[in-house]
Amino acid sequence: MIKSLFLSNILLALVWVFATGTLTQENFLFGFLIAFGILWLITINRTEIKYFSFVPKILWFFLFVLSKIIAANLQTVKESLYKKDDLSPAIIKVPLAAKSDLEITFLANLICLTPGTMVLDVSDDKKAMYVHSLHCEDRDTFIKEIKTEFEQRLLDLMR
């Protein structure tokens, strides 16, 4: 369903581009937006079809990742001026809810780009992930944070 809607969305965007006669990326994006609106209008049961919640969600997710990356970098700048005593590094085992290789890869990439954490290894049976962290006061809150903030969002998108 998602795929066919996406294809018709692109098709409608192309129709828009041909109709207006200017082949630029801005015009294509604008056409894509209009086509998205049209598809949203003509679909009967909108809430049941995932595509319409998927597109805004993925855009939102990109913004979220970008903000996390910027936060990570600002933290690193701060980090580089710290004394040694303020650090409390730890390697923590985080159980995985993600099953397939693709999901785990995305999750690991995401964790690596966010503040203070880095994936060290994934166990061979894909049930747990070992995460190296710069600051870790409490193990349970740390695991919970990763679970709710990243894994939940990612799995929402991918399933």
Binding site: A72, T76, K84, I91, C112, G116, L120, S123
Partner: protein, 125 residues
């Protein structure tokens, strides 16, 4: 101009952190992060400077691939550091990975084991 300066400042901070951190794991952890945004900003500033379609698309492709590959590189470096038993700093409080690798086959278990495979800590100085 501003973006270029900011990007190089981020990379400078990485270099400072690299010198100041006590062990390999912390250094890898920090370098993977700043490299992405630092390089991203520098590339973006070049895209704005040239303001050309072909340059912009290339810049976007490069940024995408950096974001995809930098974490993988960091992860592989860290894993091999742990497997070759690079010494860890004594300030590391929790280490769940201790004794989880099989010393011969390098298989990693998810349930609690005690195989005795762990890097030593550095001495207090």
């Amino acid at each position: 101009m501003i973006m270029l300066t900011l990007g190089s400042l981020f990379i400078l901070s990485t270099a400072v952190a690299m010198l100041r951190k006590p062990d390999v794991y912390l250094r890898i952890n920090i370098t993977t992060k700043t490299a992405t945004l630092g390089l991203g900003l520098i590339l973006l500033s070049s895209a704005i400077y040239f303001w050309d379609y072909s340059v912009t698309t290339r810049v976007i492709a490069i940024i995408l691939f950096i974001f995809l590959t930098a974490p993988i590189g960091g992860h592989m470096l860290m894993r091999s550091a742990y497997l070759t038993k690079t010494k860890k700093w004594e300030g590391m409080k929790v280490d769940d990975l201790e004794g989880q690798y099989d010393p011969k086959t390098k298989k990693l278990y998810s349930e609690k084991r005690n195989t005795g495979f762990a890097p030593e800590t550095t001495e207090k100085d």
